[in-house]
Symmetry: C2
């Protein structure tokens, strides 16, 4: 096509939408002829600035997709479920960051540096963006899988609260203020008492337990047999992205009092022998991975040093002592950037390049 493509961002006024606008403002290449910002009717009319241009947010309606080539959705599952097909019916390719379509066999689930070829395979005109926890490890695992053949994955997460939305961030901040300067002592319920004394009721929290000075082994919703939605997403999405339908996966997902950036302890078993030196070489050659690793512990990634960064950071790479062909390592990735907005935008960029022929 000769005209430049038109991009829509649905959910422009949300938390991930805001990160998306930061990403767009900082991008070097700019393939778009027009950007439309779309949100719920109550946010419509707000003005937001993208690359120096003031844009008025439009209310979500079928007409906003007319003439749009690519529509990015950063909205709750039920909004995507209803509106991504509307955008597709009006001729746009919908790139959806919700969970609504990820496991639909007619919707590819894409990480551009892992399975870019899947972008072309979109019979419904919809492409899904993976869950942030899964995404945090995909760049590293995809690169290692290509060389060594991934077979098994045991994962424990240290998940930031921002993955649960603004209310979760606000709650963590409020709880921190309530406990700071206090001794929590050695009695069960100390933290709960401090929160109650500060007027922070348990019922009002997005978390099922205190999140300050605590960790909460529960993320998402109950999916039966004790598993959470988040844990099953790690399993099912990893299988689909990597194209390994029988990949063995066990995940335990735990919230920690960190604002942004998910971390994962990964125990990965491969079909073929793998060494720490070989894994380092593969990961160093992967442009979207940064290796922060040395054997004596002077260097490793932590969430506080990875927040706001685009790449996935990998460290603590160790050969498992008792498991053949197995590596243990630690991954940190900004759950709002690569884990959400950035990956979605990278898919949109790939689509723009495809349209440009």
């Amino acid at each position: 096509m000769t005209r430049k493509p038109v991009l829509a961002l649905v959910g422009a006024t949300g938390a991930v939408g805001g990160v998306m606008i930061d990403i767009m403002n900082a991008r070097r290449d700019w393939p778009w002829g027009e950007v439309r910002l779309v949100a719920s009717p109550r946010s419509a009319g707000r003005k937001m600035t993208v690359r120096g241009e003031e844009i008025t947010v439009r209310a979500l309606a079928p007409e906003v997709f007319d003439g749009v080539d690519i529509a990015m959705f950063d909205v709750p599952d039920e909004v995507s479920a209803e509106w991504a097909p509307v955008a597709a019916a009006r001729g746009a390719v919908a790139v959806d960051n919700s969970g609504a379509f990820r496991m639909d066999p007619d919707v590819p689930l894409v990480v551009p540096e892992v399975n870019p070829e899947q972008i072309a395979n979109r019979p419904r005109g919809i492409i899904a963006n993976p869950n942030c926890t899964t995404l945090s490890m995909m760049a590293a695992l995809g690169a290692l899988h290509r060389e060594h053949g991934l077979r098994e994955l045991v994962v424990a997460s240290y998940q930031a609260v921002s993955g649960a939305g603004q209310a979760a961030i606000d709650r963590l901040y409020a709880e921190l203020v309530a406990v700071a300067g206090k001794q929590v002592g050695t009695r069960a319920g100390d933290v709960r008492e401090l929160l109650a004394a500060a007027g922070l009721s348990a019922e009002d929290s997005p978390f099922p337990a205190p999140i300050a000075l605590n960790v909460v082994p529960w993320a998402g919703s109950a999916k039966g047999d004790g598993w959470t939605s988040e844990e099953l997403k790690v399993r099912n999405e990893s299988r689909k992205i990597l194209g390994i339908p029988d990949l063995k996966v066990s995940a335990t997902c735990v919230r920690v009092p960190v604002v942004t950036t998910h971390a994962l302890a990964v125990h990965a078993t491969f079909e073929r022998p793998v060494t720490v030196a070989g894994a380092r070489e593969i990961l160093e050659a992967q442009p979207t991975v940064v290796l922060v690793d040395d054997a004596d512990g002077g260097a490793f990634p932590t969430p506080a040093d990875v927040v706001g960064e685009d790449p996935t950071y990998v460290g603590r790479i160790r050969q498992a002592l008792d498991f053949p062909n197995t590596l243990d390592f630690f991954v940190c990735g900004d759950n709002l950037r690569k884990g959400a907005a950035l990956n979605t935008y990278e898919i949109a960029e790939k689509l723009a390049a495809e349209l440009a022929g």
Copy 2:
């Protein structure tokens, strides 16, 4: 013997020593004829109250062990290495909570509800208490192992800072005050800047990275090939306590901003089939384990609700979907109680019963 045994507590004025005195004060049975409190010369002369009796702390010296039947050591490795043999030479059984003797083949490593028979096997007159991280999961794993035969263990820890001593607790409190009420934004280094602005230099921290609003995948010292001392303790001590010399273990040990109570995500593979219902039954029958678990997520243990409690709390028990004979579960245990002082005291109690014949 007809007289009641004499108990010494070496390290009475330390953090674990304080918890030990709390435990002694709360104990129903009291088999001891005399308690001696021992500490470094600079703490000698201090008066502490045990069960209503004021006791003057004595300076560590060979004579303090004369007439002592059982000497509990809650002191650094190098102090135990020197003084536990002195106590043993003077006729006491030394029960040592340091890392000095744990892997000595002539020193049993004991968890009373798992391998009590090992108490009798003490040619050096020394019995070792396991590392707190290992201990947090031993009551549960020991019970499951007896029935199903443990083969493999993949563990990720969420470790409280008090395992690293009072300086670590103080640092977490100071960092919380420095970040509370501030937005940490979305840039790498935000937390570091807040800490620096509050006068908390990185060099003065017991942690190699910020611990507030962060997690730190490093505990203990470097042991080669990327492994930490803490991770190797989990492997080697689990093997010794459970009596499975070829147990396959991979551990990743991570500090989290929690004051007290370690949590562990455990992926355990057994020789024989195991069901969630069967595991629950076994754990419910284990007096030192409390099950807080329901499949739809309404109940699970968190550190804030387990601190100060004696038992190990287990929840989130799931049958691994892709790994045969494998359970995933989440454990919380107070690292200063069962993880340190309580287990040591329970060993001393068993010895007292043995002496009473």
